[in-house]
């Protein structure tokens, strides 16, 4: 466990030493503040538009952080050959995967906390109320989603040759699931034969990230909170899927030749 925590600590340090997070945060803050200063029809109480844009930027930024951070972990260790002394410590390959995962996930959590704090301040300054329960639920579900995304990034980094291809494919997969993942059953219902079965198969196999993303709408439009049972269910589903992805990553990484 100590090895896992030590590895996770290194990943977190790496995040705050790199400029990615700062650039994304400053851009998000700048765009949101500029939009927040715009008055539509001299009405100062308009806020949902601003919350929508700000949350979109936060989602985009955190996906960039999660995917790029997780995609480069193992390839960077191999390229700099630091993976050999690391595994000779002794750190098992499973501990390496777990350490990298927790590091990336906690780093995403820190980034999320900063982003959502800014979001809460921005919306509170316009709405003159602190965010409701659904805001915290949206934040939590966002973090659970990032666990799955980090798992996908780590798996991609073991399967694919370069971090750039892992990043690109992960982005396409995540955005594709967010856009159409939840509607594949509807598509399959209008098909027949093997193709319908295949689409249904894909529908059940992909991680349903759209659940976590949809909660954003509830936060923007000020709906009531999600029943805790469903939040717990989504958390369990996210944890199981992340466990599956990490297990698969470990299986592939265990047999992988590390020589360049």
């Amino acid at each position: 466990m100590n090895n896992v925590l030590a590895l996770a600590g290194i990943v977190i340090k790496e995040m705050y030493r790199r400029k990615d997070f700062y650039v994304l945060f400053v851009m998000t803050a700048l765009i949101s503040l500029v939009l927040g200063s715009v008055r539509f029809f001299n009405d100062e109480q308009i806020v949902r538009f601003l919350k929508d844009i700000c949350l979109h930027l936060i989602w985009l930024s955190t996906l960039v952080i999660a995917i790029t951070t997780s995609a480069r972990q193992i390839p960077a260790e191999r390229e700099s050959r630091t993976i050999f002394p690391l595994l000779a410590k002794p750190v098992s390959r499973w501990e390496l995967i777990a350490g990298k995962f927790f590091g990336c996930w906690l780093a995403c959590g820190i980034a999320l906390f900063v982003f959502y704090s800014f979001f809460a301040l921005l919306s509170a300054s316009h709405e003159h109320t602190w965010p409701h329960l659904v805001f915290y639920q949206a934040l939590w579900l966002h973090w659970v989603l990032l666990a799955v995304v980090v798992g996908m990034g780590l798996l991609g980094s073991v399967v694919l040759a370069a971090p750039s291809s892992t990043t690109t494919i992960s982005f396409i997969a995540v955005l594709g699931i967010l856009f159409a993942g939840g509607h594949l059953n509807g598509v399959a219902a209008n098909m027949r034969g093997i193709s319908a079965g295949l689409v249904y198969g894909v529908y059940y196999c992909i991680p349903h990230l759209e659940w976590y993303h949809d909660a954003r709408e509830l936060a923007i439009h000020g709906w009531g909170g999600i029943p805790w049972l469903y939040v717990a269910g989504a958390t369990l589903y996210g944890a199981l899927y992340t466990g599956f992805l990490l297990g698969l990553t470990w299986l592939l990484f265990r047999r992988k030749t590390l020589m360049l």
Binding site: F40, F41, N42, D43, Q45, I46, V47, R48, F49, L141, A180, G182, H183, N185, G186, V187, A189, Y203, Y204, H208, E210, W211, Y212, D214, A215, E217, L218, I220, H221, G222, W223, I226, P227, Y230, G233, A234
Partner: protein, 283 residues
């Protein structure tokens, strides 16, 4: 030699710009397409964005309860205020009706429905203001989409009590669409309902009727409903000004085109009775 060619190419470019820019600018100004930052960035594709932004306003009006491109579309554009005009306030929930969601097909869909809005509501209590940024952007993207101006004005003058902003936005729309009788009708409502100025409202509706008739003469088939709205506006203005002879004339004209002939006939009889009564009518 190369330097000479480069210099010639540069001089050629500058000459072409000075030749081509004035006619292009004139064409743009003539078509009422101001060179806003958004227009310059997105080009002609902005009309597509305008439709998207208008749909976004409708989505906001339903607080996020809105079909995606994958859902069965039962388009009613509630945001246009048509329902509110016809049947009074329809704010609040009406969850009993069947929605585009239908029954969930499987456990994934059933579970997922707890994470997004699944109740059909309309914004109320002044929260209608939340749709305005999208309507503003839609107008920036496509200044020729008249419905955008009408929708924004309807909410500004009714639920939000901002007639000044409604008038400014409508006048902006009128500059981009000088032949639109719909905008003039709506502008008349601002003067009639909010500014309590039936005389100015009537003048605007007269102008609207002129434009409507011009379009009809040109074979453009303008909406008959608009003509009814204009004549209905005349009648309301006449009643407010207590101008009985004009009211009678306008009621007769309205009877010709309105579907509710019986009610108008009754109005005509009442007006005639009032006219023969001693001391009635101002003219």
């Amino acid at each position: 030699m190369i330097k000479l060619l480069l210099t010639l190419a540069f001089v050629g470019c500058v000459t072409l710009v000075t030749l081509l820019d004035p006619p292009l600018t004139a064409t743009r100004e003539k078509s009422g397409e101001g060179a806003t930052v958004l227009a310059m960035l997105v080009g002609d594709g902005r009309r597509m964005f305008a439709n998207q932004f208008f749909a976004k306003a409708d989505e906001y009006f339903h607080s996020g309860f809105y079909p995606t491109i994958f859902d069965e579309q039962k388009k009613d554009d509630d945001v246009t205020g048509a329902e509110a005009k016809a049947g009074g306030d329809k704010g609040g929930k009406h969850e009993e009706e069947e929605t585009f969601l239908g029954q969930p097909r499987d456990w994934v869909e059933r579970f997922g429905r707890h994470f997004f809005p699944t109740v059909h509501t309309h914004l109320e209590n002044g929260n209608q203001r939340e749709i305005l940024p999208w309507l503003r952007l839609a107008a920036e993207m496509d200044p020729h989409q008249v419905q955008t101006y009408l929708t924004a004005s309807f909410w500004l003058r009714s639920a939000l009590n901002q007639p000044k902003e409604a008038e400014e936005f409508l006048r902006e729309g009128l500059r981009a669409n000088p032949d639109s009788f719909d905008i003039l009708i709506e502008l008349g409502y601002v003067y009639d309902f909010n500014k309590n100025d039936p005389r100015s409202a009537r003048r605007l509706w007269e102008l609207a009727l002129q434009k409507w008739k011009r379009q009809e003469a040109a074979g453009l088939k303008p909406s008959p409903k608009a003509q009814v709205e204009i004549l209905d506006g005349f009648v309301r203005a006449d009643k407010q000004q207590n101008d009985l002879p004009q009211l009678l004339t306008d009621l007769e004209a309205l009877k010709e085109v309105s579907p509710g002939k019986e009610a108008i006939e009754k109005d005509i009889e009442e007006t005639r009775a009032e006219m023969v009564a001693p001391g009635a009518g101002k003219k």
